[in-house]
Amino acid sequence: MEAIAENTAKVDNMIDTKKDVQNNSPESADLSNLETVGIPFSDNAKMSMRDVDVFYGDKQAIHGVGLDIGQNEVLAMIGPSGCGKSTFLRCLNRMNDTIDICKVTGSLQLEGQDIYDPKLDVVPLRARVGMVFQKPNPFPKSIYDNVAYGPRIHGLVSRRAELDEIVETSLQRAGLWNEVKDRLHAPGTGLSGGQQQRLCIARTIAVSPEVILMDEPCSALDPIATAKIEELIAELSENFTIAIVTHSMQQAARVSNRTAYFHLGKLVEVNETEKVFTNPDHSLTEAYITGRFG
């Protein structure tokens, strides 16, 4: 009860200062004491992050983010450009390791296991937490080899027939099988943008990850291809836990169960998607979803 009261008080407080928010640029608003509102944590967490700070050299990109991603949940992360949502996503399978100056602190756990444990091998981690990127990036190889690459390097199969099966089921689950089954050995780069992105999704699910991270997977696609990917995300959520970063609020509203709003490296609000888009708890979220900035 106290917490609710506190939240209400905060919201009231924000409503009082709404005029300021409207008149001044929200970026200039004082965020130093901002605390996440809503329901960032989950009882059935697949991944749980606490007090995550990310630094690029001297610059801090993420400030004390605490967030859970629930089992088989689709979590959308939205926010204006440069708010750190992609940075945060890339921490979840340690893709930021490749950037020398990037430093991550705090606790990031996958089923209770610390993923930033120096003893942990990133190779199996990335097999468990797969990633789909902003721009479709198929390998300059055949469609078959693109999908088969993951199972091959992880040694998941011993026989050709098994590999064929994995390739087929992965392409089917990515909704691409009927379009490419006659030309599996044609180059993957010859497909259309939307097909390439579904190929990348097939490639990711071919290693049966537990979590799929999607970094603006539709930003380079046309509306029809986008619709297909969104449909696919809904289907995939039956088997996978999905965290998706998106610039499109409509997309977040369509595909996700919960939505997290990031602002200037801070997690402002996490709530049921419906609530975020109809009745957000935080005035900054409201300002963003109503298009006052972004």
Binding site: N93, M95, N137, P138, I153, V207
Partner: protein
């Protein structure tokens, strides 16, 4: 309404300046065309000069003589006895044939001059003939034998605008050759010696095979060492090395090494490989080591550029499904960077093929007659052969020098074409 005249004015101003702008544009293009034209002109001049001087070397003069291959004259009684075959006096039967062809020549000095019509190596041709067709023994037949270089030069220059080059010839020598020409007993044939023989003091017997083989062995050693070392260094520096002062220092040094005069590498090779490790002089192995040192910076720099050009999205894709660093490099980065690295390597090899100075320092400038058969046989290389011939006093070496340059240029053109072809072939689009 007030703005209308003003707009008019802006357009007028723009139009006024337009002509000037077009002229500047045209001038700018003309500078480029002029530069390319100048370059092409130089190239044309070079090619015309070299081909003009060198094309004659691909033909050589032969003289027809009526030779009696008698057992007594040759001293061969058993064709199966290698000693007799080896010791036979082949040159003698040629001399006899010449004496019979010009019976009026009597003086000892004149006779010596007469014998000079045929090459001192012509006897070997007869030996080969006897070895291949022993049944010709004790027959008399018309044989075409290699002429001496002075007569070769004379015959080739006879029809030129400047007139025949007589050089050291006296009247008699000219009359002999003219007699032979009038008889139709002189003709130009394809110069197989040039491609099949090693170096010689006699221009008509000198060939570039030794130099070609030497270059080949040297380049093989260079390629076998510099490509793997260069690619491995580039991969480490690009993919693994942390960015710090030390790697910056290495980078600056590699760039510096690429600009170090090649003779320094020759001195280094002399000091290390020959003086310290006491390796033999003049061998392609040491030449290859020296050229490896010289080519490495080129290969490392081009390989690093090629690796850098691999799109990061491909690396991310591979890492995103859990490929290890090595798998990312071996499966994705290297195949995509390969055209660039190969181009760099071939350009480095072409550079090494044309390199002379460092090889002078390690003794590959020696006069070597035998065609080398391995990387440890003394040999010379094409550019050094060109250097040696251009220094020789015999006039016939002028055309040989130009011909050797043509061969070298031919190899360079082939290698550079190969580089372009490989790039086109292996390049994948993404």
């Amino acid at each position: 309404m007030a703005s209308a005249p003003e707009n008019q004015k802006t357009i007028e101003l723009v139009n006024q300046n337009l002509a000037k702008r077009y002229r500047a544009e045209k001038r700018f293009r003309a500078y480029g065309i002029a530069s390319i034209g100048f370059g092409l002109l130089c190239l044309l001049f070079l090619f015309t000069d070299i081909i003009g001087k060198g094309h004659t070397a691909f033909l050589t003069t032969y003289v027809k003589l009526n030779v009696e291959l008698s057992t007594d004259a040759l001293d061969i009684y058993d064709v199966n006895d290698p000693q007799q075959i080896a010791g036979a006096d082949y040159q003698g039967v040629l001399k006899k044939a010449l004496r019979e062809r010009f019976p009026e020549v009597t003086g000892r000095r004149d006779k010596r001059a007469l014998y000079g019509i045929v090459s001192s190596g012509a006897g070997f041709e007869i030996r080969t003939l006897i070895e291949q067709q022993p049944e010709l023994l004790n027959t008399t037949l018309d044989l075409w034998v290699l002429a001496d270089d002075d007569y070769d030069t004379y015959y080739k220059s006879r029809s030129s605008d400047e007139g025949a080059y007589t050089g050291r010839f006296n009247e008699k020598q000219i009359s002999w050759i003219e007699t032979l020409i009038a008889d139709g007993a002189v003709e130009k044939r394809l110069n197989t010696t040039f491609f099949n023989a090693g170096d010689s003091r006699e221009p008509e017997q000198a060939g570039i095979r030794g130099a070609i083989m030497g270059s080949l062995f040297t380049l093989l050693v260079t390629l076998a060492l510099s490509f793997p070392i260069g690619v491995a260094s580039a991969v480490y520096l690009e993919e693994y090395a942390k960015k710090n002062k030390f790697t910056d220092f290495i980078e600056v040094n590699i760039n510096n090494l690429a600009a170090v005069p090649s003779i320094i590498f020759g001195l280094l090779g002399l000091a290390i490989f020959i003086n310290f490790f006491e390796m033999p002089r003049s061998i392609p192995l040491v030449g290859g080591f020296v050229l490896t040192l010289m080519t490495l910076p080129t290969i490392i720099i081009s390989s690093r550029a090629a690796i850098k050009a691999v799109p990061p999205s491909i690396r991310e894709a591979a890492m995103g499904i859990g490929a290890s660093k090595m798998q990312v490099i071996l499966h994705h980065v290297l195949p995509l960077a390969m055209p660039g690295m190969l181009t760099g390597a071939i350009i480095g090899m072409a550079q090494a093929l044309g390199e002379t100075a460092p090889l002078l320092m390690i003794g590959m400038v020696a006069f070597i007659v035998d065609v080398p058969g391995s990387i440890s046989d003394p040999s010379t290389v094409l550019p050094v052969q060109i250097f040696l011939w251009s220094d020789s006093p015999e006039r016939a070496f002028v055309e040989k020098t130009s011909a050797a340059i043509m061969v070298l240029l031919g190899f360079l053109i082939i290698m550079n074409t190969l580089a372009v072809w490989l790039r086109k072939r292996l390049e994948r689009r993404w």
